[in-house]
Symmetry: C2
Subunit: 237 residues, 2 copies
């Protein structure tokens, strides 16, 4: 992955800058550049929460050209609304989920631009960008708050895989079904129903992959039931 | 898709409720339920922006059980931090991108729960849920603001496809390469370089699918160059 920089272009509200810093850190991004930001005060700091470091280390510049000078690829994020067939400057555009594929093999610095809260990026700014990215949104109300837009982009770019949990293997599942078979003996399940019951159990557990822990819990439940039944039977003898 | 409801479980800050309403509307979700929310005031209204309708129509309830009564499936969203192998209650869990596949064929109402800003959902609340969903985040700072977490979930569930733009067909691209070939004649391109140059042009344009409009712009550029050259040649004669 190239070095990625989030650039807020003349943001109006410090609160949005704080939230942007926070959501960047949530997904492991640290380079924030602010073009002509408002004064950074208590609200930005409060909203940045544990990402105050990103806020304090943010690069402040006074023009987009300063960003361009040190960047290899510029990506403009634009709203759905500005898209018309006639506006070729903002075409073709990519969805956030496509962005990762486009940039992951690039070297150098990729700067992702987010426009002002009230009117986004100007045509001049967009014209200077290499790639256009649009977050697909509802046509009823497509204007996404800037920090939420950043959040979705960094979420997609981070593409952090969810942690894995150990699913039970085929052998472990078969052992569980075998145990159920023994359990059916213990509860004196009617023999003519047995095959269908075993298939049904396979269907139920098959459509919900079980973790190793869940399988072991089930063995425990069956074992306790068997022990109880055995105890009762013994008492009767 | 089932009817989807976003449930904020005892949110502390009205601002987050406003932002939640806004980002829900951005992705076409309208059902918001608030369990014991703080008073909804100016800050919530300001942050909801054009989603004030969602804020005003939000259902207010005083316990999770009221949500459960009218819901078919409950999904708990939990932070990465709470995940340990020993905490089987919060396992197995799914990523937001997996959630859509799980619920899209369900009927009825699916309620997606988001916990308090300071300590999330309680174990008791998680225990009442059918499915666990976790947004994969950086281990350095995984605590995502509640409205940003909602944003990522609704973005994934909406799965709105980006608008399409008409890409040039194979025939149109071939016509463009043919035009370049004529252009090479016009500029008196050295014959021994021609094949390689044509291949290089194919490689450049091939890795960036062109829109119909872009192709037509290129034809225009080539044609103008050819006309100029022809004019100059004519002047010389």
């Amino acid at each position: 992955m190239p070095e990625i920089e989030i650039v807020l272009c003349e943001p109006l509200y410090e609160g949005n800058i704080g939230f942007t810093a926070r959501v960047m850190k949530n997904f492991g991004f640290y380079n924030l550049t602010l073009i002509n930001p408002p004064p950074i005060g208590d609200e930005a700091i409060a909203r940045s929460s544990h990402a105050r470091d990103i806020l304090e280390n943010a690069r402040h510049v006074s023009s987009l050209d300063e960003v361009i000078k040190e960047s290899n690829i510029l990506i403009a994020t634009t709203g759905e609304v500005s898209k018309t067939v006639s506006n070729s400057m903002r075409m073709p555009y990519y969805a956030p989920s496509e962005l990762r594929d486009i940039i992951e093999n690039l070297n150098g610095r990729v700067s992702i631009l987010f426009g002002r809260e009230n009117w986004g990026l100007s045509n001049e700014e967009v014209a200077k960008c290499d790639i256009i990215c649009t977050i697909p949104a509802s046509h009823i109300y497509p204007i996404i708050n800037i920090s939420h837009a950043v959040g979705i982009i960094v979420y997609e770019l981070a593409n952090i895989k969810r942690g894995t949990y150990e699913l039970a293997s085929r052998t472990e599942m078969d052992a569980l079904y075998d145990h159920f078979n023994i359990f059916l003996d213990a509860i004196d399940h009617q023999e003519y129903k047995r095959e269908n019951t075993l298939i049904m159990l396979r269907r139920i557990f098959g459509r919900n992959a079980l973790t190793i822990r869940e399988v072991s819990t089930f063995h425990g439940l069956l074992r306790r039931a068997e022990n109880q039944i055995r105890g009762i039977t013994k008492d009767k003898e």
